[in-house]
Symmetry: C2
Subunit: 361 residues, 2 copies
């Protein structure tokens, strides 16, 4: 079975590496000649919205998925008619627009920060009057890793925020004074089978995921999160891995956003769970039985952003699993990550400290 | 860093899959256009002894290794002058000839079955007179997975054995009435660092490894085996993974053969040990720190020979990790394997039963 992946970043790379042992083959599509994922599978070089290249991809494979969520829906819709395309374009479309996403959360009774569409400075002032301050003005589309966001602390920030982001469709959201950020990742297969990982607790720096610990054990939050995830699964008849990021506020979850794909906060599952998120995504879209999501210990995952430690230094840390994406270093670029799986939370926290030191070297 | 692998079978494939996360790149050389390993890395199509293709490989990479031990030493010697070549050609040469191998074992005081070189029917009769019966007549070269062997139970078998194998250099070995077969796998790096896995217990069918359980815990045998492995390491100043297969006879080890490469009886280390044999081989030949060989539980590995179970059936077994080599089925061909890692020997044995049933479907 040949899997087509639109995008050959590190997620496509890790999907392919997880899929080869299942006997799957991969063809990726990416505009970059030296894409990370292109080093581990056949790659068609082309833009994500190039209709000729997309048809070439579709012709070569049995099922299509993607590793970037900013794939233009209009461009990929025609190939979704040619071959099975998972997760579905409907889910992809909703997740690309923060307004649609939050509107869906509201429809599905999934708590989300108060929000207001903003298309003008007037709208912004109205949004602030309704929702209050502090808040965050965000672009509705193409925002990721903290880009396209402006935090407003008081009314005087209004003009600067509009100057910074105005001109494209925006959304104003209430600032949530959260105590913690967690994410839930689950898979739903073509046959409707569902497998959900334990929650992960995430720490961001400059808007980019910096490190994750998992499992984050809290049976009450786990239950809330699973209920919400299943509502989204049901709504779309979803197929593949779905991630929802939540704020934790006074013991309750508030959904921040969803990603219709494998997620950085699930990289710990490669070594830390019985079946990785990458393998379960492939099993889901190929209609195979889903694998156990049971954790194998207490995992810590640290991202290497902008710079990657020397292999020697990294591999000296006992039990550290390095994932070098083989990408050219650039500031704020995710170049790799490392995971360690320990027998206890205390041992994990101790190792996490060493890993964080390594990431900052 | 670019790694060259002579041979693109399943071992080359699994080496590449283990090496990508370290940021390594791979170029393989194989005569088959549809080689298993060629699906996961760049592959030069050519014979193992084609001097032009070998030089092309050497030019493309920083260090060279191999996934087949029957690479002709004379053919690869010139490229070992061009680029680091590990494990060393000296070790490769010795392991290709059962007589040299057993002579080395004897020199290094590693117990081995009594043996006698056989180049004529007279030699065979002399060997039987010296060593006795039962015994096994084997080709000195190119034997693997039980091929090139003839078991002699009584003197009357002598002519038939000679008829079957005569004409090439042979070796006659005493039959060892062993209670168990075990193997020890260890790595030695360029810098002399050594990391050794726990023993694995192996079961063969028709001369081919069928299944393995690991760790096989016996501190006395583990110590004996490590002592012997280290003698071979020291003798060659060895670099890479080395495997020695032993018979167990009345609590003592008798070395049967060695393989200067990652080994089928070490496939359990992918999920069952902190660092896999594939990753440690790459770390060793790249001069990186070796990874922990600690087992993560009790592993069972079953080979799929001649036929591979349907993915659906295999993946329904909870905790089973499938490794489909993506090879065309042929009788007696290794097409894949599966590993399960369980918390106790009893749980492992129970799962092993199910896996054996699966392998026979």
């Amino acid at each position: 079975m040949n899997i087509g992946i639109i995008g050959a970043g590190q997620l496509g790379r890790m999907l392919a590496l997880a899929g080869y042992p299942l006997g799957l083959r991969f063809t990726l599509l990416d505009p970059a000649a030296d894409a990370s994922g292109a080093r581990v599978g056949k790659c068609i070089q082309g833009a994500y919205d190039d209709p000729v290249k997309l048809r070439e991809l579709a012709a070569a494979v049995d099922v299509i998925t993607f590793d970037v969520e900013n794939v233009p829906v209009a461009a990929v819709a025609p190939i979704a008619e040619l071959k099975p395309f998972y997760p579905q374009i409907t889910a992809l479309g909703v997740s690309q627009d923060r307004l649609s996403e939050k509107t869906l959360f509201r429809e599905l009774r999934i708590p989300t920060p108060e929000f207001h569409a903003v298309d003008s400075l007037d709208d912004l002032q109205r949004a602030i009057a309704t929702i209050g301050l502090p808040g965050v003005l965000k672009t509705r589309r193409l925002g990721y890793d903290g880009r396209g966001q402006y935090r407003l602390r008081n009314a005087a920030d209004c003009d600067a925020a509009w100057q910074a982001l105005g001109g494209v469709p925006l959304i104003y959201e209430a600032w949530v004074p959260f105590s913690r950020e967690v994410s839930l990742i689950g898979a739903r297969s073509i046959h409707g089978e569902v497998a959900i990982y334990p929650l992960a607790a995430n720490s961001h720096e400059h808007g980019i995921l910096h490190h994750t610990i998992a499992p984050y054990r809290n049976s009450d939050l786990q239950q809330q999160a699973e209920t919400y995830l299943k509502r989204v699964f049901k709504h779309f008849g979803y197929v593949g891995i779905l991630t929802i990021e939540f704020f934790v506020l006074r013991g309750k979850l508030i959904a921040n956003e969803m990603a219709p794909r494998v997620h950085n906060s699930g990289h710990w599952t490669i070594e830390g769970a019985c079946t990785s998120q990458f393998e379960n995504h492939l099993r889901a879209i190929c209609g195979l039985p889903l694998g156990s999501t049971a954790p194998l210990g207490h995992a810590a995952m640290v991202n290497f952003i902008g710079t990657i430690p020397a292999r020697d230094a990294a591999l000296k840390l006992t039990g550290l699993h390095l994932h070098d994406y083989d990408k050219q270093p650039r500031p704020a670029r995710k170049l790799g990550h490392a995971t360690a799986v320990l027998p206890s939370p205390a041992a994990r926290d101790q190792t996490l400290k060493k890993m964080l030191k390594l990431a900052r070297q």
